[in-house]
């Protein structure tokens, strides 16, 4: 029997983690993740979970102890944002290279410098090559659902990769929403017991994790890891199907909003997608065939599926809540462009950078974008392929 509650994004994810009841959790505070781990810590102090908590002295040690605990043989979590994610960067590669299914909610926050504690995607985008699976969440409900599914995806015996669940800092983590939670038993039945692969704690079978590998073998290990990445999409869909049966909510690799017969479209991640959908509706009322694509599985990126979803549109704008410096386009733009490249006929593609450092994304920004797309679809000329929207010029 589902429970309807009014809670924040952080509370929702903390609750999901409580229901999953992992063996070990490493925690280090950073805004805006802090109250998620605080809440989880109170579950520990009240005996509501069996989790052993390691209150580490830095995020680097948080991820390091997660690696140790996961290799030890059990279910492990941590959570972070921004600078914390940046600090644990080298260990993220180690976690995925060692094939350890650690789950980590990332409450997306801008990277320094300048110091900013508000929501944007630069943190998780900076980690997109680390080999972690990335699931992005539009709202607290999705963050809750994604967190629970993350365990089944990462721990799948064909996969065994760490998973990051992303949600917008402050916008989602700190705002109260009406969400539907599953019962505790439903979640524990869904995630099942943790199955070990090669646990260190099995002392009857001593193994060595983390050898030095020379040029004669390193590439084979990377190729093997690349192969695993190709299997993730199917597992994500299978898990989503199973999850639908217990929750009634549908999930895929992405969400297609009124995209079927769309001529113009927006590709956008997380909470801003929610804002944009209302504007898409407004345009539809006016008879304009607008649509929206919201990625959910961002890494490994399902290029073929994205390409198929967008190929028939006339003009698409990819809105990035992070920029990739160096004369480049935003990260999501680059992936979308790559997914469309194989087709002879493909939409005109433009890129807008928005919402950095917690800058508000308003309906008027979506209107601006859609109006521009209407013009491009009509005339076919583009003024600027990349622009910052919502900034004081």
């Amino acid at each position: 029997m589902a429970k309807i509650v009014a809670i924040t994004g952080n509370e929702a994810v903390a609750n999901a983690l409580r229901q999953v009841n992992p063996d070990v959790c490493a925690a280090y505070p950073i805004t805006p993740q802090t109250d998620m781990m605080q809440r989880f810590s109170s579950f520990v102090s009240d005996g509501k979970v069996k989790t052993e908590l390691i209150l580490v002295e830095s995020e680097h040690s948080a991820m390091s102890s997660c690696v140790g605990a996961s290799a030890g043989g059990g279910r492990v979590i941590t959570a972070t944002s921004s600078q914390g994610l940046a600090l644990m960067w080298e260990i993220l590669y180690i976690a995925s290279g060692m094939r350890l299914p650690i789950v980590m909610p990332v409450v997306n926050r801008a990277l320094s410098a300048p110091l900013n504690i508000h929501g944007d995607h630069s943190d998780a985008m900076g980690a997109r090559d680390t080999g972690w699976i990335q699931l992005w969440s539009e709202n607290a409900q999705e963050a809750y659902d994604n967190t629970i599914q993350a365990f089944r995806i990462g721990e799948h015996m064909d996969i065994r990769l760490p998973v990051m669940v992303c949600l917008d800092g402050f916008i989602i983590s700190h705002s109260i929403e009406r969400i539907s939670c599953l019962e505790d038993e439903e979640v524990s039945e869904f995630v099942r017991d943790f199955s070990n692969l090669i646990p260190l704690l099995d002392i009857g079978r001593p193994v060595s994790y983390g050898p030095l590998i020379l040029p004669d073998y390193y590439m084979e290990f990377r190729r093997a890891q690349a192969e695993v990445s190709t299997k993730v999409s199917k597992v994500v869909l299978d898990v989503a199907e199973e999850y639908e049966r217990i929750s009634g909510r549908t999930y895929g690799l992405f969400e297609e909003y009124r995209l079927d017969d769309a001529e113009i479209g927006i590709v956008i991640l997380n909470s801003a997608a929610g804002t944009s959908k209302d504007v898409v509706d407004a345009f539809r009322e006016k008879g304009i065939r607008a649509g929206l694509l919201k990625p959910r599985l961002y890494r490994p990126f399902p290029y073929r599926e994205f390409g198929e979803a967008l190929r028939n549109l006339k003009a698409v704008c990819v809105l990035d809540r992070a920029d990739a410096f160096g004369g480049s386009f935003g990260p999501v733009y680059l992936d979308i462009a790559t997914s469309l490249y194989p087709y002879k006929e493909r939409p005109v593609l433009i890129n807008k950078i928005f919402g950095l450092g917690g800058r508000d994304y308003l309906p008027e920004h979506a209107e601006l974008v859609l109006n521009e797309l209407v013009e491009i679809a009509g005339k076919g000329t583009v003024k600027n392929y990349k622009e910052y929207v919502g900034v004081r010029e």
Binding site: G97, M98, I198, R205, Y209, I213, M219, F221, E227
Partner: protein, 97 residues
């Protein structure tokens, strides 16, 4: 030795065979070789405990022969050997002589 392809490597590069280093014979590194002079040996076992390469074989608490598969010829055993009445139980000779 044939190298494995990408399908044959272990997930996460984990090595599942404990102590597999024994397959790599470091004895070929030597330029000097220790010789055990049993008549001068007081069975103190210092050579056994001090050897960095576990190259002194022991059986039932008694020192036996060197394990030349692994001995790198460092000479620690010879230097530390107390010997009997001033005569060492281990001497280093040039390898190959």
């Amino acid at each position: 030795m044939k190298l494995r392809n990408w399908k044959e490597v272990t997930p996460g590069a984990v090595i599942t065979e404990a102590g597999s280093s024994v397959k790599f014979k470091t004895g070929s590194w030597r330029s000097f070789k220790p010789i055990w002079k049993e008549e001068n040996c007081i069975q103190c076992l210092f050579c056994w405990i001090y050897c960095p390469d576990m190259a002194v074989k022991v059986g039932d608490g008694k020192r036996e022969e060197f394990d030349y598969d692994y001995c790198k010829g460092c000479g620690i055993c010879a230097l530390e050997c107390p010997g009997k009445k001033g005569n060492k139980a281990i001497i280093m000779v040039e390898e190959g002589k």
